[in-house]
Subunit: 334 residues, 2 copies
DNA sequence: TTGCACAATGGCAACGTTAACATTTGGGCG
DNA sequence: CGCCCAAATGTTAACGTTGCCATTGTGCAA
């Protein structure tokens, strides 16, 4: 029928409704200074023409995009899905949208992420840091572009938010000591992981704070296989009654490794993991673990940008504690 | 020093470089008809002022956003992370960005997702369908907005793409029959899952195509616990030598359930899963499973929109087959 | 009747960019 | 020496929206 018009603008609606463009605009924004009957007439015209406001014209006029950019170096990564859930939820709350960008094949620097974003329609940006960017110390956010980093490291010019990995280890160690264990063995992760390193520090320092010299740790690589090997190794050690693994996969592997050496969990050895990622996968036991609230991390980041909304809000640093979830892999020795 | 100016435009750069705005624009786009020395002068001015092109002005002029919108009803869901990886990768390839929207708290309809998108700066949209929207049959995409649905169901007006669930079951069943098993038992999923239902059909029809009447299926709920129960139930059945579970968690639960009844895997019973989601979690065996290429699904969807780039491209339907990955949970009876 | 306040609507300009067209300059060639 | 072509640059207008100010109409008090 009607030829497909490039796009319907306020002008077209105004003409059809017999009002000015301004009145159309006011109707779109539901201004109280338009007579209800006029509004209805304009709305009818909008419906008839299939009008939808043009984002570009609007942002050009307003100078804002109502959008937050998210730059990720790796999209696939534990917790990213929950973080995105948080981004989307917070954005939704503020009437914002999320623009996702993969910074990949490009150098691992904040500068690279930042310049990638600069040509996109965003009012602020979030960068998910998995490891240490080369320019972390020297980076300056783009002027007028509020920048939030998802990392534990504090940055002088950007707000930061992340899970509190140190506190996570503190909780686990104190939980186990509180149940009568004399020490806590640790299965770590590869040394290049920022969050893993912080977990390791938390384990070490909490033990020391209780006057316990940390035993030698076993280095793992996040996989259940490495946990399995670690479990077999630790099965030899009669002083080992409690094991804290850097993630659930290694914790589960460790349990199977211990069992393969004839040690029972939790009767002989207690095991705690981190991530709460095994929920529906392991049928026969509920692992004691720490659950992180990645959704909240994501929400905080977007809230910081969308919530400020132009108001110059200062740099803030936020660490969100995890929650220890009791399963049936820890024995109370008291 | 310099007061923070609202934003730097071509006009400012032009003035500083002593050229016209058009020459600045041409320099930005690296047009060959600007003298190299002029370009350099303009570039210097851009650097000095910190110019970055304004997205809104550009899109307004061009009438395109170079952005694809992704609407999700649930962000958390198996494979979504990989799909996003695909979205981002394809977008990157075409110089596009991805805008993410959560359609939540709103009715589960395509109309709802569509209207949510209509005010955003996107040239096309992808909807990830987890279950059946109420208006699937009647939905019409917004004019001028290419819409791709991620689902197995074909839609008359929108292109669709998804994993081939039917073929997945066909592969598994034929693989097991090919290894001498007389029939294949099935652990299904809840009846409201579209993809699960399609898997069930594939299992049933492939058996029938080989002249085998499908045995009674065991209904699971995606969790390892339900797989465990199913395994215990099937352990009673002496005709059961091969089990196909709708996902890996149930498959793994099933193995543990069988073992708890004294049946060994794969010596007594073969087990196959779907999803390849247990990779690093289960330490002691490699489950035979089907790996889906969700990244490719995501790429296809975005390619369809960004690749067409204005060219009127027709409605297409794409099913992407998974790949059967051999582990050590299947015994060859031949 | 005049003046005034207020409600409803309209006109105009500007946001930053770039396509289309116009102009200037320099050089080669008859 | 004049003509024409091509390279390099400039001018204008338009994309769709909305803030600001102007205009019109209406009712009411002085």
């Amino acid at each position: 029928m009607a030829a497909v018009k490039k796009s319907v603008s306020v002008k077209d609606v105004a003409r059809l409704a017999g009002v000015s463009e301004q009145t159309v605009s006011r109707t779109v924004h539901d201004s109280p200074s338009v007579r209800p009957e006029t509004k209805e007439r304009v709305r009818a015209a909008m419906r008839e023409l299939g009008y939808r406001p043009n984002f570009a014209g609007r942002s050009l006029r307003r100078g804002k995009f109502k959008t937050v950019g998210v730059a990720m170096f790796n999209i696939t990564g534990t917790g990213n899905l929950d973080r995105m859930e948080g981004f989307a939820a917070a954005a939704d709350k503020h009437g914002y949208a999320i623009t996702l960008t993969k910074v990949d094949g490009h150098p691992y620097t904040l500068e690279s992420a930042s310049s990638r974003m600069s040509a996109l329609p965003v009012d602020g940006m979030v960068v998910i840091m998995n490891r240490m960017p080369a320019d972390f110390g020297t980076f300056e956010p783009l002027p007028g572009m509020q920048t939030v980093l998802v990392t534990m490291l504090e940055h002088p010019l950007c707000s930061t938010v992340d899970n509190d990995q140190f506190d996570c280890s503190r909780q686990v160690v104190e939980y186990l000591l509180g149940r009568g264990h004399k020490t806590v063995h640790f299965i770590s992760c590869p040394e290049r992981s920022l969050s893993g390193m912080r977990r390791e520090e938390g384990w070490r320092e909490t033990l020391r704070a209780h006057g316990i010299e940390p035993p030698r740790l076993v280095r793992g690589d996040w996989t259940a296989q490495s946990g399995y090997a670690a479990g077999q190794a630790l099965a030899e050690d009669p002083t080992c009654t409690a094991i804290y693994a850097s993630n659930d996969a290694m914790a589960y592997g460790c349990i199977r490794g211990l069992e393969s050496c004839g040690r029972r969990v939790p009767e002989d050895v207690s095991v705690v993991g981190v991530d709460d990622s095994l929920g529906d996968i392991v049928p026969d036991r509920r692992l004691t673990t720490v659950r992180f609230d990645n959704k909240r991390v994501g929400m905080w980041a977007v809230d910081k940008i969308a919530g400020a909304d132009g108001g110059a809000s200062g740099v803030e640093h936020m660490l969100i504690p995890g929650v220890l979830v009791e399963g049936d892999t820890v024995r109370d020795l008291r």
